[in-house]
């Protein structure tokens, strides 16, 4: 029995195993042009239309570092609370493949641009700090297309030379759930910074997952396997589940684990050996003589530091302090930069007499529901932050009831209509005139004399019937509080 409810352990007979996970995340740098050439990085272009002579490795072509990508890497390093290395070196990683035109990838091996850092995860049982080993810049390869022709492989070099950040974590992760939270947090930080769009469908974020297992309580690390190039959080979790169980089974059967590189088959939900340690490539790393060591000054780094926006952790703390949100609510609102932006805009547009609690409930409740059902990002929300703020103010100042507000909300979705106008046009304004309501109630009591008598004789349940009748008669617009008061008086 584990004392911690959410602890992820694999049980076999008398043994409990914990799972040790480290990730190498490949994040595409948000940049107009490639790491060492001026060609465009735009996604989805016709094959081989965004390829310069440098990207295709023509004779005599030379790489020239894109300063913007360097800045992006440093900003990301700052966001990961990491050490920025003032001197880093680009190395060549040599191997042959059809979609690697140079015959080597320019990467950083011994001296990466960013050193050790950390990321804070918000887990149900509290915060967890995950160590970052390093972040380095490297080129992406092209794409081999094997399924267009039975005989030939086609190569698309559009991606060749696109800048990637490889973010290597320490082996600090212990469960598929932590991996999910970690990836989401990394993605969140980079989206706040504008350094990676985190779009996993377009391959902007993918990871190599290192998995090993050990008897719980053991201090030694087991032999690890690396699962290459997994491109969704769900697949990462599935791959880890499968791989950890496979390793545990091997150990339980008295076998040892071979250090190897494996592939995750998403259709069969299993990992498969790709190559063993013996077959591992000898990449013959050496400093790229076409590039000088990359040197950045303190001024350069400090300038970037001063440009760093408020990041999710700080924003969360502020939301809790300033708006008295619960940590749970704050977490939801800060996890995605666009949600945070939306929330802050709603708050700003609500003006002086604002009900933040109400705003949070509406965003997390109604708004998220319709975004989910329509499968929309909040940045594409059919209801603008400004209009949602107006709607919430209408509830707050009693112009409409919460129930009517839901009707108005539905109507707002069609062309982001101003709720004020909807209320006026449809006459949805709450009826709060006591005299009019009294007249309305008098008529209802008159029409239902028998029930009124029964109520007086003690059948108190019938009060609800009269409230319902009154609301119905007012077309739902009557102020429910007033109705209650008048009914009590009159009955």
């Amino acid at each position: 029995m584990s004392k911690n409810k959410s602890e992820y352990l694999i049980s076999r007979k008398d043994n409990q195993y914990e799972v040790i996970i480290g990730l190498e995340v490949h994040a595409q740098v948000t940049s107009e042009s490639k790491l060492f050439s001026t060609s465009s990085t735009k996604f989805g272009a016709e094959p081989n239309t965004q390829v310069s002579l440098v990207d295709a490795a023509f004779p005599g072509m030379l790489p020239v570092i894109n300063e913007f990508c360097v800045k992006q890497a440093i900003k990301t390093g700052i966001g990961l609370n990491a050490k920025i290395n003032k001197r880093s070196v680009f190395d060549r990683k040599n191997y042959f493949y059809a979609d690697l035109p140079q015959g080597y990838q320019i990467s950083q091996f011994k001296d990466p641009i960013v050193g050790e850092g950390n990321v804070i995860l918000d887990m149900p049982e509290g915060q967890k700090k995950v160590g970052i080993e390093r972040l380095h810049l490297e080129q992406d390869a092209g794409k081999s297309i094997h399924d267009l022709d039975p005989q030939n492989t086609f190569v698309d070099l559009n991606r060749s030379g696109v800048a990637l950040m490889e973010i290597v974590s320490k082996p600090d992760l212990r469960s598929p759930e932590e991996v999910s939270v970690y990836i989401k947090k990394l993605r969140s930080i980079m989206r706040y910074l504008g350094t990676c769009d985190g779009n996993m469908q377009e391959g902007s974020l993918r990871a190599d997952v290192n998995v090993s297992v050990r008897i719980k309580g053991s201090k030694d690390l087991g032999t690890r396997c690396e699962i290459k190039n997994v491109n969704s959080i769900k697949f990462m979790q599935m791959a880890i589940e499968y791989e950890a169980n496979r390793q545990v089974d091997l150990i339980e059967e008295g076998n040892s684990i071979d250090q190897e590189t494996r592939l995750f088959d998403t259709k069969k939900n299993e990992t498969r050996s790709m190559r063993s340690k013996e077959d591992a490539h000898d990449y013959r790393y050496f400093p790229d003589p076409d590039l000088l060591p990359l040197e950045v000054s303190d001024e350069f780094i400090n300038k970037l530091k001063s440009d760093i926006p408020e990041l999710p952790d700080d924003k969360k703390t502020r939301f809790i302090d300033e708006f008295k949100l619960s940590p749970y609510e704050a977490n939801i609102l800060v996890s995605d930069i666009d949600t945070a932006k939306y929330f802050e805009e709603v708050v700003a547009k609500m003006g002086k007499n604002k009900d933040i609690k109400l705003a949070v409930n509406w965003i997390i409740g109604e708004l998220f529901a319709i975004l989910n059902s329509k499968n929309l990002e909040i940045s594409k929300s059919p209801i603008s932050a400004k209009n949602l703020a107006i709607l919430i103010n209408l509830i707050k100042n009693g112009t409409i009831s919460g129930k009517i507000a839901k009707t108005v909300f539905e109507l707002m979705m069609d062309g982001n209509k101003d709720p004020q106008k909807i209320v006026e046009e449809k006459g949805l304004k709450q009826q709060s005139d006591p005299r009019a309501l009294e007249a309305l109630i008098d008529k209802i009591i008159n029409d239902n004399r028998e029930k009124a008598v029964e109520y007086k004789q003690g059948k108190e349940k019938l009060f609800g019937f009269f409230v319902g009748q009154a609301m119905k008669a007012s077309g739902g617009k009557a102020n429910p509080q007033l109705i209650n008061e008048i009914l009590k008086k009159k009955l």
Partner: protein, 485 residues
């Protein structure tokens, strides 16, 4: 003017500026002589007819303010030339036509020069005799079946044989200076970072430098002035103040301190070379220079260091020639088979040897013992020069340990071939400028050269020293036109 091809670049420029001769006349003469000189095998690709067209066009609207107005020039086939086949002397690029121009050649065209053709060289500039070229060895105009040196062998042959008034070569371990020495011509390897490497087929990136080759020091200075520019397209190009080398050229070197490194008196050095060196020392003294004995203690490690660093870089630089994107492709059963056949058939023996050496020294388990150690030694070699330059302004050595040898003589003995570069290689490792000037003849009448090594970015100084010594030496190249029937 029938003796046009015998004129130096400076004379040709003067005559064209004075309108004594047209670009077309000059170009015609060089084309004619080149056509009569096929036996030298100096050209890989000829571009004569378009050269004549360009010359005519130049004459219609001559811009005489340019530094190379209407001057026809053939260049080493390692420089990428737009729309003109560029082979690097290799089968693997035998059909490669670049869509772009190297910065160095572009600089020449910008000053009014006209491309005559592409000159023979060792395959990927790997060789000291031009015998590794896929297109056959070039001949030395000095004598039949004599190597012109390498790797810029075709370039040296073309300048010495007067097929082009000047040319550009590249020098990774001596590939400009050694062939200049073998052919009685002048060759300058500039400071690393002086001339852009953009568009030059790479051999060893940290050592490669383009440089001028000419019949005399003045022409060499003028060409250096044209080709040396800062280029943001080459990350190792250096933005320093470049002299107007030809304008600032002077033979006044009085009081210059010239160092004589004792370690260059290598074991088994022929007496002829030793005598030449002494002669050079005397000439330098005659010019008013002060001779100072110096020590470059790590000299003997230079050659082994070079033969680790250069092949290591080459093994990686040549990985792009895989049959996938351009150049020669052999048929294969699958990708790996295609790679193996393409590279086995596309590269010659010497290139394959160096790729093997380079791959080996970078392999895990060997990297520290070879590549890393070589880098450390390279630093020591550079430190030697830095120390020496606290005492002297330049260093004088022989260019090569012997005169040109016969074709085939050293072909099967790579180590003896590599020894050709013993005096030139340290200069590349240290990134310094060095110039070879003809200074005498051996017993067979073959030319011998002296090398003047300078401080980084101090091309002007070694050009001045070479200019002053050239005057005293008064070397006459013995060209008999033996190949013209």
């Amino acid at each position: 003017m029938s003796d046009i091809t015998k004129q130096s670049l400076s004379e040709l420029v003067k005559n064209i500026k004075n309108k004594k001769v047209s670009s077309e006349e000059i170009t015609k003469e060089f084309v004619n002589r080149s056509e009569k000189s096929k036996e030298l095998n100096a050209y890989i690709t000829e571009d004569y007819s378009s050269a004549l067209d360009k010359a005519k066009k130049f004459d219609q609207k001559p811009n005489l303010d340019l530094k190379l107005p209407g001057i026809p020039i053939a260049v080493k086939d390692l420089f990428c030339t737009k729309d003109i086949r560029t082979t690097a002397g290799s089968k693997i690029l035998h059909n490669f036509v670049p869509t772009y121009e190297s910065t160095v050649t572009q600089n020449i065209w910008n000053e009014g020069a006209i491309l005559l053709g592409k000159l023979n060289c060792d395959e990927f500039a790997m060789g000291s005799s031009n015998e590794t070229s896929f297109f056959g060895n070039a001949q030395n105009p000095i004598d039949k079946n004599l190597v012109p040196g390498g790797s810029s062998g075709g370039s040296a042959s073309a300048v010495a044989g007067q097929l082009t008034p000047i040319t550009i070569g590249t020098d990774t371990g001596g590939s400009i200076r050694q062939p200049a020495s073998f052919t009685g011509t002048v060759g300058l390897k500039p400071t690393y970072g002086s001339c852009s490497r953009y568009g030059i087929v790479a051999f060893a990136s940290s050592l490669d430098q383009a440089g001028p080759m000419a019949q005399n020091v003045k022409d060499c200075a003028l060409l250096q002035e044209v080709i040396s520019t800062y280029d943001p397209k080459d990350s190792t190009s250096i933005n320093f103040k470049r002299n107007a080398y030809s304008k600032e050229l002077t033979n006044n070197i009085k009081g210059k301190k010239i160092g004589i490194p004792k370690e260059y008196r290598v074991e088994g050095m022929p007496k002829e070379i030793e005598d030449l060196w002494q002669k050079g020392i005397n000439y330098a003294k005659d010019c008013g220079a002060e001779i100072i004995d110096i020590s470059l203690p790590h000299t003997s490690y230079a050659l082994p260091t070079y033969y680790i660093v250069a092949p290591a870089e080459a093994s990686s630089n040549l990985a792009r020639y895989d049959g996938v994107k351009y150049g020669f492709r052999a048929k294969g059963e699958n990708l790996i088979d295609m790679y193996e056949k393409t590279r086995s058939e596309g590269f010659g023996a010497e290139v394959q040897r160096r790729i093997m050496i380079g791959t080996y020294v970078l392999s895990s388990g060997y990297y520290d013992a070879y590549y890393l150690k070589a880098q450390k030694v390279r630093k020591l070699i550079k430190n030697d020069f830095d120390e020496a330059y606290k005492k002297v302004d330049a260093i004088l050595t022989p260019s090569t340990p012997s005169a040109a040898f016969k074709i085939g003589e050293k072909k099967d003995d790579p180590v003896s071939m590599y020894l050709n570069d013993i005096f030139t290689v340290p200069v590349n490792l240290a990134g310094l400028p060095g110039i070879s000037i003809p200074a005498g003849h051996d017993s067979k009448g073959y030319p011998l050269g002296l090398q003047i090594i300078g401080k980084a970015f101090d091309e002007q100084n070694i050009l001045n020293i070479a200019y002053a010594m050239e005057e005293k030496i008064d070397f006459k190249n013995k060209i008999t036109d033996w190949w013209i029937k």
